[in-house]
């Protein structure tokens, strides 16, 4: 129906403008391979556009966008599971850079370490970690994942400890 399609386009553009960069980061967190990551981004954006035909405001647009994106990415991860084991740093060389070369070198190294950490995680932990890194609070993470506040709090506590521990370790040698 043309009216629905125009409304769907409008909602999609609104969502893409607000959450586009977060969706890019989400795709990076799930997929290290550049070609597969491009496919995943396209899948996520298409799934989001298609889903908006059913968006009825029963939850916020943010919750809807993250749910659709993570669900699409989870399917992608399960589909390519046999290929995934360990992710090499060389795969991460094509993450978009910064204009300032000095800042870029240090920053990229740290970001790559962070990406490897996230990509090594199991899907459920990966989802929670990515939402935590996007600075969503426990209630929002609970709404998106469907987990209880206590389960989210417990997991976030573990994620924080893991990031602090492993990031500190990597920081000593990585830069």
């Amino acid at each position: 129906m043309p009216t629905r399609s125009l409304e769907q386009d409008r909602q999609y553009l609104e969502a893409a403008a607000e959450f586009g960069p977060a969706l890019d980061r989400l795709a990076r967190g799930y997929e290290a391979d550049a070609d597969l990551r491009r496919d995943l981004r396209q899948e996520i954006h298409t799934a989001l556009w298609r889903s908006l035909a059913k968006f009825n405001g029963r939850c916020s647009l943010r919750t809807w966008v993250y749910r659709v994106a993570h669900n699409t990415a989870a399917s992608h991860v399960l589909k390519h599971r046999s290929r995934r084991a360990f992710v090499g740093l060389e795969k991460l060389g094509d993450v978009a850079g910064d204009d300032d070369p000095e800042r870029s070198a240090v920053q990229r190294n740290a970001v790559q370490r962070l990406l490897v950490l996230v990509q090594e995680l199991k899907p459920a932990d990966q989802q929670l970690t990515l939402l935590y890194l996007e600075d969503l609070d426990g209630a929002a993470i609970g709404e998106i994942t469907g987990l209880s506040p206590s389960a989210v709090a417990l997991k976030i506590h573990r994620i924080k400890a893991m990031l602090a521990r492993r990031f500190q370790q990597g920081g000593d040698h990585g830069c």
């Binding site: 386009d9 553009l13 893409a16 586009g20 960069p21 890019d24 980061r25 795709a27 990076r28 491009r38 981004r41 396209q42 954006h45 298409t46 799934a47 556009w49 298609r50 889903s51 059913k54 968006f55 939850c59 919750t63 809807w64 993250y66 749910r67 659709v68 993570h70 669900n71 989870a74 399917s75 399960l78 599971r81 993450v95 978009a96 850079g97 910064d98 920053q107 740290a110 970001v111 962070l114 199991k122 899907p123 459920a124 989802q127 935590y132 890194l133 996007e134 600075d135 998106i144 994942t145 469907g146 987990l147 209880s148 206590s150 389960a151 417990l154 997991k155 990031l163 990031f167 920081g171």
Partner: protein, 186 residues
């Protein structure tokens, strides 16, 4: 106070967006291609039904007694059962914005069931046909016993190989699923 540049959250959110944008035109194109593929599915199903109908008709015309006719009916009924199960596996009803852990759990359960040999469940409706057909071949054919048994032995060996291979891959998935269940129960 300025954010710590080495803080994981800051590092994460300071990443540059991807250079190539996904445009609305591209999305429309992907959606159109997907819809086109979806439209082929009923055509594929119709073709399969036609082929099965033709084979059933041939079997029915060649049936000389009750056992042959029963085999034919079991074949047709088994095919209908298979289609129903395949349809449910291929096109599960789904909510695009289902809570993330529920969706992940559903996908993991599906994958685990597949790894544990769940695909053979889809072929289960054909089991009566195979049994009756097998009995028919064994009891009526004049060929040596080993020739009569060979197809069944091959079928059994293939099923054992596929099941054992898949089950080893299922162990890791099973552990992850248990962990997710624990988290969802918490």
């Amino acid at each position: 106070m300025a954010a710590d540049p080495q803080d994981p959250k800051t590092l994460w959110q300071d990443q540059e967006p991807e250079a190539d944008l996904v445009t609305l035109e591209q999305i429309h194109d992907f959606a159109r291609r997907f819809d086109r593929k979806t439209r082929f599915t009923p055509a594929g199903v119709a073709l399969c039904i036609l082929i099965v109908g033709f084979i059933t008709g041939q079997m029915w015309l060649g049936a000389h007694d009750t056992l042959h006719r029963a085999t034919t009916i079991l074949f047709a009924a088994g095919q209908v059962g298979c289609y129903f199960l395949i349809y449910r596996v291929l096109f599960p009803s789904r909510d695009p914005a289902e809570p993330v852990s529920a969706y992940l759990r559903r996908r993991m359960v599906g994958r685990l069931s597949y790894l544990r040999g769940g695909l053979s469940v889809v072929l289960l409706p054909l089991a009566p046909f195979v049994l009756v057909g097998g009995y028919q071949v064994l009891s009526r054919s004049d060929r040596p016993l080993w020739v009569k048994l060979l197809p069944f032995a091959l079928m059994a060996a293939t099923m054992v190989f596929v099941t054992v291979r898949a089950r080893t891959g299922a162990k890791k998935m099973s552990a992850q699923l248990r962990e997710l269940d624990e988290l969802m129960k918490h």
